[in-house]
């Protein structure tokens, strides 16, 4: 898929026979063995492999859970507890799946911020980036559907809130909401279709991942300095160099994953989800899972229901046009000192938005005397920066910013000992 001439040499009679009929080994060899990889990739580039690992993990544990789970409103909660209590190692499989979802999002956020920092969305990688955004959207949908399946209090009322979001859309909103519900409210029919879709979407993610990897192999990997490899000196073979580094990255990530699964499996969840769903009582604070919190804050920042929903979808939608909003000629922020500052503010701002999403809107985030700054106002500031970063700062900065000198090739900083460049 790399566009390079293939160097695959079938060794045995069978592989020669196979190669002339279905060159699948050639494809694997050219994509994952001989594929030239920039030699200066840092650890942030191992998150692609970590994400593939997590997707596999979620699909495998999910299939196993589906062998025991009952998608019925009266039995769903009890069947999850049956998995926790009676199924052999069911507790392990369920905690792997529940915490795996969180780890998947940890990894995808690192992966996205890495792309943002090193300009991995810029030409010729626009399609690669957009496919990534589609994967992210599918992940959000899958995570939401899966969380609903537990059918605890937070599952249920979270599903009520999210499905009502769609109801805010003009013209089609009411119909979409009714189709999601299959009735007059979130109920058994909703749970059934959520289960069906939750089983389907991961395979759609896997499909888009294949396209994502395909696009990656056509354009080649970006790298920390954002300069395309010019010669063989700039690259190493994917195997063993990238595979072993990815392997180490995955191993480290799994250590963190294990800590959560075995020693704080419920720390990322909500206590209310251990109470069976009750349509007549809403928990005091409806809080989504942590990975949706910044977007939940954006939703609540805007007092108008429709505008809030549009802002929330828009905050993700803007990522799709990012390749055309960034006007800078320099790809990597390593050579863009001003962009670095705005990027760091963006990350901190996203965390603050998450903090806002976690708290009741009218509580004081920063108390001053009797009054202070409420979370809803803080999230308004955060929302403004979120959009300004993409729509105003990115286009303008590319024009006005004075960038640092960019090396000609990946190897040149080392050859010329240009320490000034590496310091960044």
């Amino acid at each position: 898929m790399s566009g390079q001439p293939s160097t695959y040499q079938p060794k045995s009679g069978f592989t020669r026979w196979l190669d002339s009929r279905l060159p699948i080994l050639r494809l694997a060899h050219d994509s994952f063995v001989d594929y030239p990889t920039p030699k200066n990739l840092n650890y942030w580039w191992t998150f692609g492999a970590i994400l593939s690992f997590m997707l596999g993990m979620q699909i495998i544990t999910g299939i196993v859970l589906a062998m025991h789970y009952v998608p019925n409103a009266t039995m769903a909660f009890a069947s999850v507890e049956h998995i926790m209590r009676d199924v052999n190692y069911g507790w392990l499989v369920r905690y792997l799946h529940a915490n795996g979802a969180s780890m998947f999002f940890v990894a995808v956020y690192v992966h996205m911020l890495r792309g943002l920092y090193y300009g991995s969305y810029k030409a010729p990688r626009e399609i690669l980036w957009i496919l990534g955004c589609i994967i992210y959207l599918l992940m959000m949908a899958t995570g939401f559907l899966g969380y609903a399946l537990v059918w605890g209090q937070m599952s249920f009322h979270g599903a009520v809130v999210i499905t009502n979001l769609f109801g805010a859309l003009p013209l089609v909103g009411e119909s979409i909401r009714t189709w999601l519900w299959g009735g007059f409210s979130v109920d058994n029919a909703t749970l059934n279709r959520f289960f069906s879709l939750h089983y389907l979407l991961p395979f759609m993610i896997a499909g888009v991942v294949i396209l994502h990897v395909w696009a990656l192999h056509v354009s080649g990997q970006n790298n920390p300095i954002g300069v395309d490899p010019k010669s063989e000196k700039d690259t190493v073979k994917f195997t063993p160099y990238a595979t072993v580094k990815d392997g180490f990255g995955v191993a480290l990530f799994v250590v963190m994953f294990g800590l959560f699964v075995f020693y704080m499996p419920n720390s990322l969840g909500d206590v209310n989800n251990y109470i069976p769903a009750n349509p007549l009582v809403t928990p005091e604070h409806i809080v989504p899972e942590w990975y949706y919190l910044p977007f939940y804050a954006i939703l609540r920042a805007i007092p108008n229901k429709l505008m809030g929903v549009l802002a929330m979808f828009g905050s993700i939608g803007v990522l799709f046009i990012l390749p055309w909003l960034d006007t800078s000629k320099v790809r990597s922020m390593r050579f863009r000192p001003k962009a670095q500052i705005f990027f760091v503010i963006f990350v901190i701002n996203a965390l603050i938005l998450g903090w806002c999403g976690h708290n009741p809107p009218d509580k004081f985030a920063i108390p001053v005397g009797e009054g202070g700054l409420t979370f809803v106002w803080l999230s308004r500031i955060g929302t403004a920066y979120w959009f300004a970063y993409f729509v105003i700062i990115m286009p303008l900065l590319g024009i006005v910013e004075k960038t640092r000198p960019v090396p000609d090739t990946i190897s040149s900083p080392v050859l010329s000992g240009a320490a000034t460049v590496e310091k960044a």
Binding site: M67, Y89, K233
Partner: protein
């Protein structure tokens, strides 16, 4: 220095160093460790195992009667045999039997109580439930493919390969037994 990314000879990174073999083995071990619970979860769960054994009160079964219970999702025949049935079963001990394993009648009825016979009511051919009182041997007759069992539940005629299964039985008291 830096002129080529990949050296050859003794520094060849593809060389099967101990550290690479160890790392690969560790990854393989981790995969196996993950596979273990994923396979184990397919075994019967705790609530299923809790129902794996039942206690049966034999005093509820009267002479010449058969009580059918549900045990492990299958029918369990608990039969109080008449003197004639016991006699015909014991007489058949010496006849050529198809399935000779533990096929003496004394090895099949409840220990010390020849009148009680407890059987898993599943034909050993393809799993149908045989009915009592049919066939040439006055034992059980399977309506699906015509297998015939005698009054000790032994296969005598038809396609079934084995005798009706006698489950594990523990005698708890004069009238109580535990099956499974």
């Amino acid at each position: 220095m830096g002129d080529t990314a990949v050296h050859s000879g003794s520094d060849d990174p593809n060389r099967r160093d101990f550290i690479h073999i160890a790392a690969l083995a560790a990854a393989g071990g981790a995969g196996a460790m993950l596979a273990w619970p994923l396979v184990q979860q397919m075994n019967p769960s705790g609530d299923t195992l809790a129902l794996a054994s039942i206690e049966v009160d034999l005093s509820k079964v009267t002479e010449g009667m058969q009580v059918v219970l549900k045990w492990r999702g299958k029918p369990l025949f608990v039969r109080y045999r008449t003197a004639a049935e016991i006699a015909s079963a014991q007489a058949a001990d010496s006849e050529p039997l198809k399935d000779k394993e533990h096929s003496k009648d004394s090895e099949r009825h409840v220990v010390g109580k020849p009148q009680y016979l407890v059987l898993v009511g599943v034909c050993t051919h393809l799993g149908c439930v045989p009915t009592f009182g049919g066939g040439d041997y006055k034992g059980w007759f399977c309506p699906c493919h015509g297998s015939q069992y005698d009054t000790s539940g032994r296969i005598r005629k038809g396609p079934a390969p084995k005798n009706l299964e006698v489950p594990d039985i523990a005698v708890l008291s004069d009238t109580m037994i535990k099956v499974g």
